[in-house]
Symmetry: C2
Subunit: 206 residues, 2 copies
Amino acid sequence: MKAKGFLIVLSGPSGAGKNTLINHVLPRIPNLKYSVSATTRAPRPGEVNGVDYFFVSDAEFDRMIANNQFLEWAVFVGNRYGTPRSFVEEQIQQGYTVIMDVDIQGALQIRKQMPEAVLVFLLPPTLDELRKRLNKRGQDALEAIAKRLEHSAKELEYIVDYDYYIINDDLDKAAERLVTIINAEQCRVARADLRAIQQLWQRRQD
Amino acid sequence: MKAKGFLIVLSGPSGAGKNTLINHVLPRIPNLKYSVSATTRAPRPGEVNGVDYFFVSDAEFDRMIANNQFLEWAVFVGNRYGTPRSFVEEQIQQGYTVIMDVDIQGALQIRKQMPEAVLVFLLPPTLDELRKRLNKRGQDALEAIAKRLEHSAKELEYIVDYDYYIINDDLDKAAERLVTIINAEQCRVARADLRAIQQLWQRRQD
């Protein structure tokens, strides 16, 4: 019996630990696949087209937007990144669960484009903890971090648009919760192959 | 942080193994409680009021129906049994997850009375397997079993009104799935204590 797959979106403020969590969970669920994004950024040495990203030109990205081929897209540091709808839909049709991480604005775009997607809000235990993590990462100046924290505090309001939440106080526990959510969602009647179930139940006249 | 509990309803055809599965799962989830039913049947030796059942008179049962105090009720072998709304709601308020087993008609009543309840359809792998189990149980005559199977095959249609399904081909695997569903449902934003989360996120001015 082949149930339909689904898209699971891990989202939350920058520094919540989305990427680390996904890498922790991917090896633990056999039919889980990471969503491959499209980008206008040039490939870095070693990056493979179709594996790390779909590398596309600016014109191609424009076309994809015009044809509604993205579940969400955004600009980061001058380059555009987007989630191609076709890739996700093909994997789902084949029974895979597709996982991706995206910021909160991106998750809200996906909610509109694909209402049946499963949205998980990942949040660090406190805003202080988030500040510590962003400081430790050392990517941003103190002022930028302060701005980001303020932004994150505001964005917490959008949690009500999500299906699940995970407080990332401990990586192993958070991974356990995400695995649990994915496994439970695989038991949804809405995605079951009801015809196959009904066929099993055809009463043999013996 | 204290999230709200919820009601999880395990339902399915007679012989699917609802009771065995619940007994297997109860010790594995700390805040899981079995729902205590009200009944007009006389207590059997050793049965304790408020633990095994709430034993009530016919007149009291009538009053409870009139006052909409049941999530569902039904007649079995001349006695009435019902799920008291107040017991379930009190446990949920205290943060417990309440589990119960009920036939399909009862589950559909609950869906109307408490739309946020989580409905799980338990089904044996095939109708032949169900026939074997009912034969083995030896409670019913062959003719009664044939009737019951026909009824079960029809009732399978109601699976679309459920949230989750579990195929009970192996008790341990089915228990694992039910535990997973309950744990995942405990991560629902809809039941989170959002005020507590927001308070954790109040930025300390230090």
